[in-house]
């Protein structure tokens, strides 16, 4: 079981969090087209190694945090607040 060091709450069990996927992909710009959005929705690197991913602390602070985890050893290198990782957005409401 992962124990995730939430930057807001401290070390907490994995069951308190919801996994939200790859944190390094950004939403394409609105007019990027079908291929770009298909890659955004379905394309994943699936690395055997370090992976940067979003976890939402649903049973805690409800903040989104960005965790760098090794997919083979489960070692967690760091966990950062979403705020510290901006800007990441590829554009939202027009």
């Amino acid at each position: 079981m992962l124990r995730i060091p939430c930057p807001w709450c401290g070390i907490r069990d994995e069951v308190e969090f919801r996994y939200r996927g790859d944190a390094l992909i950004t939403r394409p710009s609105p007019d990027a087209g079908v291929e770009a959005f298909t890659a955004y929705v379905y394309g994943r690197a699936n690395p055997n190694g370090w992976h940067t991913e979003w976890w939402l602390h649903v049973s805690g602070c409800r903040k989104l945090i960005r965790v760098t985890r090794h997919t083979f050893t489960h070692e967690i290198l760091r966990a950062e607040t979403a705020e510290s990782c901006r800007p990441l957005s590829g554009g939202a409401a027009s």
Binding site: R3, R20, P30, L56, A82, E83, P87, S89, A93, S94
Partner: protein, 978 residues
């Protein structure tokens, strides 16, 4: 003698003043408090304990601990039969009833022991090859027969008291030390002195580990136990086995507290979930067997086990033992038994010479150096051995009543391997030793191949120092405790197998022989993992702890490679059997998951509601205790003809506020909310980025920067998470806050042609006429003196309102509404009636919003806004251009209205066998005769008026149906606007 004839002295653990009586296979015997079932049976001279798994060979006790492969028994309790209890760890208590397993009619005369004679026909893989044809016979004939013949205990009926007497404990600590031998105890003491919180876990009933077997260590052990007991930051947990390592410092441990009947409420098992910042694995090493013909018959056991029975329980396992050894460490058993007065013994040592052999000779013992035990004399019990030199064919026969063997010691690596340790071959001990990066854990003592108790204690100390340093703690001064020096030793010599006539077992629990391993190799199963699965080697409850490496060595020899090249199978949790009840803990039946009750739950209950679980919620299904449609249709009819009221508080309610709230909703919804005037509500659909519908619901604008979003009951948590994720990761530049207010607001729907009359009687300060408050309008209001939010929205298709009131006020509002509607015949209606009404209207709900339907599939494609970005836009549009054959929402009616529709019914074009769709929701109708349904049908909108066959093979039912528009009642939606 009341203590059993083989009890020759005082044991460390037994209380000779306190005798207990127990029965085995109906025979009553005496034992002592502190005995295990195995030690008491051996004290009474009972050697035959069980029949083996496959060949029904007679078996006795083989070890003195949890690694026991043979000594499994049934324990009979008032609550039933508990199978597969380990005699070597089962503590004796007065009145214990145990029975042997896998035999009929009795242990001594077992009909299926004929399997042993037929064993030449039953090699590994026999079942796979033999019972292939005819294929029907496997399930009906072969498997039941094989299962009857093979196996261990039989599971009794489930027992409630077991589930009630387990508990789960969560524990946090700085350091977890696994194993309380010299290394573990020293480490725990050292760390406790540094002020760190330590949990010291030991599977045995007492602390000491290997030091229990060496009398020179008794003062050290006793002193150490006192120090640890008095150490405020060290928690010692005997009778507790760490059964799994789960990374990040999380471990599962199973504690079996002492059980003393007849107290039935006592805890049987305690599952401890331990979270530790550092771990030291001081799990020691386990003695292994040697594969030689007949190495399984009663009277053969491990040398260390014989030493354990003597020192722990004062029991001599034989009067004329023969030792078969490969290392100096194993001679401890020789010297202990000799000191206890057993002088008629001999030693067979594979090595040409050794220091320990010299000492044994000095005691006057016969030592056969450079020799092996070739085979045994005696069939059901040991009567003697045949000894041969490793380089000569000459053979001598010698009388013996037991054979005590030791093939060396294998570090217990399971937990280390679960943490990701690599294994390396160590010649010094002829075994695999683990290496582990310090970030994942540390290993101390015999568990990492250290030889000797003193060396292990020193190793534990130095590992503890490393851990203290990692915590930046200074080395605390230690009390001076003298440690007995390790005796000088000669090198061990590995011996895996003595080949000869007869079965030489590598796995006694699963009846796997060295020949089976070779057969697996000949048939191409060269990898140890394949060999394991083909032969079942190491797959028993003992996890092959005493013979696993021997099997690897036999395979290595067959392959012509060193053992190091073969390795060992990957160990996974659990390291010993764990009762399912212990894993479940208290989370059973009603406590399996939390129940969410509506604020009005008690009212609904007193009104006679039957409840249904939707997610965690308990919702009123129908206000009738009896199942059946009659009450449902009565409720639905009241809504269509007069007025009804229902509790929809389970809907998700999310408060969205902020300067960018409208922009945000435009982004997360497929339709537009920025154009929604204050005081209005709008139905919206939310897509996933892949273009499929995530959820739907109405959103009301309370002020320019304040919206209330409602979600479906099932998706309320998922939608909130989705919104929070979007706000924090996708569009963090928007200034918006989302707050879950689902529990704060209760919500009721009042629906029916006379809904306005009911509402008008209780509302103050608001004109609710059709002009003042038209369809989809929203307003603040005071109802029965309580401030409320009023939404003119409708799920039923009737004139309707939804009222949101503070949850704590719900009863006052609800009863006021009922009172006001009484003369109009208002009825409360449940989820079933709600469902009937929405199916008639063709509104999609959870069965249709199944994650594979797009807005277009549901006939909602027109809601997608033309301009501006929103989640799911690109892929929804892309799918919009390729909708050929997609399942689309349609209505279905049976051609013969009386025929029932069923959810899940497959729909087929007459004359074909391939379904083109299926029914998602169905109900009897209150507006037309017979049944109505909604369905997802391939190109459904092009099939209006088409006749299909609905088939439900489970019910042996076929029903011709017609495809119609989903809006089967009031398609113009006129009634909601009246």
């Amino acid at each position: 003698m009341t203590r059993g004839p083989a009890r020759i002295g005082l044991g460390l653990l037994t209380d000779s003043a306190q005798s207990v009586r127990f029965s085995f296979d109906g025979r009553w015997m005496p034992g002592l408090a502190g005995d295990t079932l195995a030690s008491a049976l051996l004290a009474n001279g009972q050697r035959l304990i069980a029949r083996s798994f496959k060949y029904h060979r007679p078996r006795g006790i083989f070890t003195c601990g949890p690694e026991e492969p043979c000594g499994l028994v049934d324990v009979l309790t008032p609550g039933g039969r508990e199978p597969n209890q380990l005699a070597t760890t089962l503590l004796l208590h007065d009145g214990l009833h145990a029975e042997s397993q896998n035999r009929w009619p009795s242990l001594r005369v077992d009909a299926l022991s004929v399997m042993n004679r037929l064993s030449g026909l039953l090699p590994a893989g026999f079942y796979y090859k033999t019972f292939m044809r005819p294929s029907w016979a496997w399930e009906r004939l072969y498997e039941p027969l094989i299962r009857r013949a093979a196996g261990l205990g039989r599971v009794g009926p489930s027992k409630e008291e077991h589930a009630l007497s387990v508990e789960t404990v969560h524990q946090h600590t700085d350091v977890l030390v696994v194993g309380a031998g010299p290394a573990g105890m020293t480490a725990a003491y050292r760390l406790g002195r540094s002020g760190l919180r330590v949990v010291l876990v030991e599977q045995d009933v007492v602390l000491g580990g290997g030091s229990l077997l060496d009398s020179r260590w008794t003062p050290w052990r006793e002193h150490m136990c006192t120090l640890l007991d008095n150490s405020p930051s060290v928690r010692c947990l005997p009778r507790t086995t760490v059964v799994g390592a789960y990374g990040h410092g999380v471990f599962a441990a199973l504690e079996t507290p002492e059980r003393k009947p007849p107290n039935r409420t006592m805890i049987r098992e305690r599952l401890r979930i331990i979270r530790a910042r550092e771990v030291i694995l001081a799990t020691g090493a386990t003695e292994r067997l040697i594969a030689f013909p007949g190495n399984d018959i009663p009277g053969v056991m491990l040398a260390g086990a014989a030493q354990g029975y003597l020192r722990r329980y004062g029991v001599a396992v034989g009067r004329e033992p023969l030792f078969f050894l490969t290392s100096d460490e194993a001679y401890g058993a020789v010297f202990d038994l000799h000191a206890a007065g057993i002088h008629r013994m001999a030693v067979v040592d594979i090595r040409a010479e050794s220091l320990a052999a010299e000492r044994a000779r000095a005691l006057g013992l016969d030592v056969y150096s450079g020799c092996v035990v070739n085979s045994l004399v005696g069939r059901n019990t040991v009567q003697g051995v045949r000894i041969a030199g490793i380089r000569s064919a000459r053979q001598v026969e010698r009388a013996a009543d037991c054979v005590l063997m030791s093939g060396g010691y294998s570090p217990n690596v399971s937990l280390a391997r679960q943490l990701g340790a690599d294994l390396h071959w160590q010649d010094d001990t002829a075994g695999f030793v683990p290496t582990l990066g310090a970030a994942r854990g540390r290993i101390a003592g015999a568990a990492r191949g250290v030889i000797g108790l003193a060396a292990s204690a020193r190793d534990g100390d130095s590992i503890a120092l490393q851990v203290a340093t990692a915590f930046e703690r200074a080395a605390a001064p230690m009390a001076e405790i003298s440690i007995p020096a390790d005796a000088p030793r000669s090198q061990c010599l590995p011996l895996w197998e003595v080949r000869g006539r007869g079965k030489a077992f590598v796995d006694l629990q699963n009846d796997v022989t060295a020949d089976d391993i070779r057969l697996a190799h000949r048939e191409g199963y060269e990898h140890i993992e394949h060999t394991k699965r083909y032969t079942t080697h190491g797959m028993g409850t003992d996890q092959g702890r005493i013979g696993g490496l021997v099997g690897s060595a036999v395979l290595a020899q067959a392959r012509g490679v060193p053992v190091a090249a073969v390795g060992q199978p990957t160990p996974r949790p659990f390291v010993q059997p764990v009762p399912l009840a212990a894993l479940a803990g208290a989370e059973i039946q009603g406590r399996l998951k939390p129940k969410r009750r509506l604020a009005l739950h008690d009212w609904h209950e007193s009104a006679g509601a039957s409840f249904v679980a939707t997610g965690l919620w308990l919702r009123p299904l129908v206000y009738a205790r009896e199942p059946g449609w009659e009450a449902v249709l009565r409720e639905a009819r009241a809504v269509r003809s007069s007025v009804g009221i229902t509790d929809v508080s389970t809907l998700g309610k999310i408060d969205v506020q902020g300067p960018d709230a409208a922009r945000f909703l435009d982004f997360v919804y497929a339709n537009t909310f920025s154009t929604l005037p204050v005081g209005k509500a709008r139905y919206g659909i939310m897509l996933r980025e892949d273009g499929m519908v995530l959820d739907d619901g109405t959103t009301a604008r309370l002020s320019p920067e304040h919206f209330v979003v409602t979600t479906t009951t099932m998706n309320s948590a998922a939608v909130l998470e989705h919104l929070e994720f979007c706000l924090q990761a996708v569009c963090p530049e928007l200034d918006v806050l989302c707050t879950d207010v689902g529990d704060q607001w209760a919500q009721f729907a009042i629906a029916g042609p006379r809904a306005r009359e009911v509402l008008g009687a209780v509302i103050t300060g608001l004109d609710i006429s059709n002009d003042a408050l038209p369809f989809m309008a929203t307003a603040s209001a005071t109802i029965a003196g309580i401030p409320a939010r009023l939404f003119r929205i409708s799920f039923s298709g009737e004139l309707g309102y939804e009222l949101a009131v503070p949850a704590r006020e719900s009863l006052a509002v609800w009863t006021a509404l009922l009172e006001a509607g009484r003369r109009l015949g208002i009825v409360p209606y449940g989820l079933d009636a709600l469902n009937t009404l929405r199916i008639e209207k063709g509104h999609a709900a959870a069965p249709e919003l199944n994650g594979t339907t797009s807005a277009d599939d549901l006939g909602l494609g027109h809601l997608l806004k033309r301009h501006g970005d929103f989640i799911g836009r690109t892929l929804a549009q892309a799918r919009g251009s390729s909708t050929q054959g997609r399942l689309q929402l349609v209505g279905v009616r049976p051609l013969n209205g009386a025929q029932q529709l069923r959810n899940g019914m497959q729909l087929m074009v007459p004359g074909t066998q391939t379904p083109v769709g299926f029914i998602t929701s169905s109900t009897p109708s209150v507006v037309t005769e017979g049944w109505l349904g909604l369905a997802l049908v391939s190109a459904g909108r092009d099939r209006m008026g088409q006749h299909l066959i609905g088939a439900s093979p489970l019910h042996d039912q076929t029903t011709p149906v017609e495809i119609v528009r989903p809006q089967m009642f009031d398609p113009e939606n006129a009634r909601v606007r009246r």
